[in-house]
Symmetry: C2
Subunit: 376 residues, 2 copies
């Protein structure tokens, strides 16, 4: 199955494209809301679709522990039928979570043995296991199973980790494509903050045919300039005729900075997680709706926003829901934050198409990065 990547327009390194996947077309640059356990938290699929989400991300690690890939696979079309989402799905490989969430972890060439954080049971995951799970989930895009390099890492630590990831990528590729797969497998460039290792990782991957490629091992705590240095080194070396996915990024200004350098796909828990904590993205920066200054504020959260939360509810009401731990507060905040991200991507695509990306990027970069100060 060949992945069709339809490049529509470019503005500098930024580009607009359409990725043709088994369950539909994804317009890029695209943001993928994260649906860890087969649900984008607090959102039903029709709401996600109404917000304009074209693809969501599912977590192989979490879903393989609960409910188990076998149970998801009982449903028509795998994870699509299980969660009631008929549009495209990308699944991560579980690699990142194995390294960030699992305890008593033992890494061998074969794979990783760890204790399930759910019930303490011993679990083993190899590149082949990850491919089996992702095939069972029937995701449109599966990701290679990688050894995630910690930050910071010395050159030799980063090299050892990257080289293992590359050997695992080869095994995963062979296993995923052993017969007709349900989707496409993306490779992941590793190498930490070491540019020569990024080059080596890319060269190792290029021995195989990957329909898309991701940059992993970023958004792990490194300073922004380190990340941009890695992106500026790596992106021009990556194939330009297929999608480039920057895993786990990020804030709006980080997305814009990456798009400017040629990234097509993003995922991040930020909009959904922030909504659960009452942190809401606005045209004036992030607002903490718990702030007492909103107590008697009958205005909309963001007067510049057209989402249903901003059209129908006051800041006073949103603050009240948050204060009373009402689920509706999470729902309305999630709708707003996802609208903010998906609208940002729509604006990015339109600006690139119009050759005006630099101007939009400047406006996004100018949004205050901290919680907005008290209004007068």
């Amino acid at each position: 199955m060949k992945l069709r990547f339809e490049l529509l327009q470019a503005d500098g390194a930024a580009r607009v494209a359409r990725v043709h996947l088994p369950h539909g077309i994804v317009e890029t640059p695209a943001f993928m809301p994260v649906g860890t356990y087969g649900t984008v938290k607090a959102m039903a699929p029709p709401e996600l679709a109404a917000l304009g989400a074209q693809i969501v991300l599912g977590n192989t690690f979490h879903l393989s522990l609960r409910p188990g890939a076998d149970i998801v696979a009982l449903h028509r079309d795998g994870l699509h039928g299980f969660m009631g989402w008929q549009r495209p799905i990308l699944t991560d490989s579980g690699g990142f979570q194995v390294f960030s969430l699992a305890t008593l972890r033992q890494i061998s060439e074969q794979g990783v043995r760890f204790r399930s954080p759910v019930d303490g049971a011993e679990v083993h995951m190899s590149p082949e296991d990850s491919m089996d799970v992702q095939r069972a989930l029937q995701s449109d895009v599966a990701m290679a199973f990688d050894d995630c390099t910690a930050y910071p890492a010395s050159e030799s630590q980063a090299r050892e980790s990257m080289e293992r990831s590359m050997r695992w990528a080869v095994r995963g590729h062979a296993h995923y494509y052993r017969d007709e797969p349900p989707g496409h497998l993306f490779g992941i460039v590793q190498g930490g903050m070491h540019l020569a290792l990024r080059t080596a990782s890319l060269e190792a991957l290029t021995a195989l045919d990957w329909p898309g490629m991701a940059i992993g091992g970023l958004a792990v705590g490194e300073p922004e300039e380190e990340r941009l240095r890695v992106l500026e080194h790596t992106l021009p070396l990556m194939p330009s005729d297929r999608p480039r996915y920057l895993m786990g990024v990020g804030y709006p200004h980080e997305i814009v900075a990456a798009v400017a350098r040629g990234v097509d796909m993003f995922d991040c828990v930020m909009p959904t997680r922030h909504a659960r904590n009452g942190h809401l993205f606005t045209s004036e920066g992030i607002v903490n709706i718990r702030n007492a200054r909103f107590q008697r504020d009958t205005g909309p959260l963001d007067p510049a926003c057209s989402c249903s939360t901003c059209r129908n509810y006051s800041r006073a009401y949103l603050r009240h829901l948050d204060r009373c731990d009402e689920i509706l507060g999470v729902q309305l905040g999630t709708v707003h934050n996802l609208h903010f991200y998906l609208e940002l991507m729509r604006r990015i695509r339109a600006a690139i198409a119009a050759g005006e990306f630099a101007a939009l990027a400047a406006r996004i970069m100018a949004i205050p990065r901290r919680t907005a100060p008290p209004v007068a």
Copy 2:
């Protein structure tokens, strides 16, 4: 403001009517979902409207503590604007909650002094205070502030409590109607399980003009036959040309039993609270979705149900969401349970209109009352 109560059809004591309220028409027998803090938990108003809810209940006690009636009143149309619900709202008086939730309670003829369960502050609520709050909330139907009789209560305890409620009802009526009010004030019959006291309460109320009347002091732990005895005694004594509201009831079979005796309006936290605990109402009885037997069950929760939860998700998925404490599980369960209740009321109204209420009542009564046994 005169309340228009349009009696359409009767089948025995059961009747179908239309109650014309400032924010719209309510078809009775009606079930009112409970929106304690200005939100029916986990439901946005458009979802409630789509389910066919015509009226919701707001809690005066809770809303007066958080966010405070003054903050709600800053919004257009009071609670309607605050919560984004343009259809009718009934508010309780706070009496029941003062007696069931407040601590360090001191009752005097003037009113009740208690500690706020939110922040421990000393709060006072009198019949006049309750009317002021309900007027500020701009509910379509306000309720008299009453002294809720505990269960069980001796004749003298029940008499003292009922007589205080009746004096408070007179004060509340004068205060609510002192000038043009935003809605209608319903009286509440008290008297515990003592039939003579129920008669006396009704006679005391009849001295004033109430556009509707409620039966209070039931659903407080009494056996079902006690409740039916009180209903059978009291309902025929109540005016038949205005709505009769049975507060806090109940299970489907309890609603059917009360409709059969002439009740028009109901409210209960059951469908929403049960949904949060994974207890879902079905045509075969209440199902506990946490049960392990649903682990691999790809069928719909209730094959006989047409709600979006049953049309789009499997039992295995609903169990998975519950097990992972996913908010979406509460959302989907609440949609289903409220659909069950609102569909029950639609069926009740249709059956009364068709002169077939007895047959429907028999079918509802035959639904198993406990969690359904394991399926084969």
